[in-house]
């Protein structure tokens, strides 16, 4: 419509007598012409095709034109029938009667003005992508010392539960019990546990050296020395 208005204005400027509103196609078409057009063309193609080929053959070779076109080769019984389902899947799309009743318009709603804001949001994300804010500040020393202390506490707990006397509640899974205990409970246990000749709180002979080495693999000697200085003197821990 806007094109027509532009053309009309242009014609007015040129003082043209041409009428921009005039029907560009003044010719008339027989009623129902287009409705039956496709069918008439197909009929012509089929008719012409069959007649044309027969005529052509007759002209070329009357002998061949007189021979039956039935194929002499045989085909296994039900060969074509057995392929129908598979062939249909590949060659045609069955029109679904059920789907034909369903409106293709999506029933989901979209927030008002959503699409207008997408380009801006995407560009904002792209320009902000360069700034990387780490979630956690890494302090390896703190982590290493914490790992060392946790390991010692866990092993102490295992030793404690393994050396429990009669009459006490037995624990089937001491590791699980130690894990459930809070840090405060474990600290209290270490501080209050009496150390005597029989139950020396030591991991010297209980913990395989390889296990201890693994626990302290990422802890420097300096840090361990600092830690040991803080521990009570009667705790013996051999990590070598």
């Amino acid at each position: 419509m806007s094109n027509r208005n532009t053309i009309r204005e242009e014609l007015n400027e040129l003082n043209s007598k041409l009428n921009a509103n005039a029907d560009p196609t003044p010719y008339s078409v027989p009623e129902g012409y287009f409705t039956g057009f496709a069918a008439s063309v197909m009929a012509k193609i089929k008719g012409e095709s069959a007649d044309f080929i027969t005529q052509e053959l007759t002209e070329l070779s009357p002998l061949l034109a007189g021979i039956s076109r039935t194929m002499p080769f045989s085909v296994p019984k039900d060969y074509f029938q057995s392929n129908i389902e598979g062939v249909k899947a590949f060659t045609e799309e069955e029109d679904s009667l059920v789907l034909s009743f369903i409106d293709k318009e999506m029933p989901y709603q979209v927030p008002t003005g959503y699409f207008a804001n997408v380009p801006e949001q995407v560009l904002e994300k792209i320009t902000n992508k360069g700034r990387v804010v780490p979630m956690f500040k890494r302090n390896w020393m703190r982590l290493a010392v914490a790992a060392a202390v946790t390991g010692i506490i866990a092993l102490s707990g295992i030793v404690y539960f393994n050396n429990r006397g009669d009459g006490q509640v037995t624990v089937n899974d001491p590791v699980a019990v130690v894990k459930k205990a809070s840090t405060e409970e474990l600290n209290d246990f270490i501080k209050t546990t009496a150390v005597d000749e029989k139950t020396q709180l030591t991991v010297k002979n209980k913990t395989p050296k390889t296990e201890a080495k693994k626990l302290f693999a990422d802890v420097s000697d300096k840090e361990l020395d600092a830690f040991l200085d803080q521990m009570p003197a009667d705790d013996e821990i051999d990590i070598n």
Binding site: E105, P107, Q109, F115, V122, L123, K125
Partner: protein, 184 residues
């Protein structure tokens, strides 16, 4: 002429010029965002999830468009990214909640039912529920063919699957959807 009216080739050329990169990219978003959005939303159901995936898609487009080889149509490439991002999103959801994929599909069906406009009596909503019963690949094939009317040739490039397999997949998907709608 508005940038959105320009051909993909022109937009790509504009994108590769530093001074017109951003306007060209904006135009690409405006040109394809709705199609990609609905393709994504049919997979993930929830608008907020679809929004996240859509934005991730365009961020990937920004990063990768410079090296786009143009051996396929731009929209084919965009659809492939959108498909992969949707599948990645669903995979992450599965891992995050430590549930099986069938539970993810149940979750998506529940999201549909939780939509405030959900009407169980309307065929359009039943169709969405039926689609969620399909395996992911079949869901994609059905969505691309039924809603986007994508030719199988193009679909085979998007999904990197043979045309024959896609036709068979669509055939089965339609049957399953019909059965679901008839039985519910």
């Amino acid at each position: 002429m508005a940038l959105t009216d320009r051909s993909d080739a022109e937009l790509l050329m504009q994108f590769r010029q530093p001074q017109t990169k951003e306007p060209a990219f904006t135009s690409i978003i405006k040109k394809y965002q709705e199609k990609l959005y609905w393709h994504i939303r049919r997979m993930v159901v929830d608008h907020d999830d679809a929004n996240d995936v859509l934005q991730n898609v365009f961020i990937r487009v920004w990063n990768g468009l410079e090296n786009f080889r143009e051996d396929s149509q731009l929209y084919t490439w965009l659809y492939r990214i959108a498909t992969n991002e949707s599948l990645t999103f669903l995979e992450q959801q599965k891992k995050r909640s430590a549930v099986s994929l069938s539970d993810v599909e149940t979750g998506l069906s529940n999201k549909i039912k939780a939509d405030k406009h959900f009407d169980p009596n309307k065929l359009e909503w039943k169709l969405q529920l039926a689609i969620q019963q399909l395996p992911e690949k079949q869901k994609l094939v059905f969505s691309l063919r039924y809603y986007d009317e994508m030719p199988y040739e193009e679909m085979s490039r998007v999904l990197e699957t043979s045309e024959g397999a896609l036709k068979a997949s669509y055939h089965h998907a339609v049957k399953k959807i019909e059965d679901y709608i008839k039985n519910h």
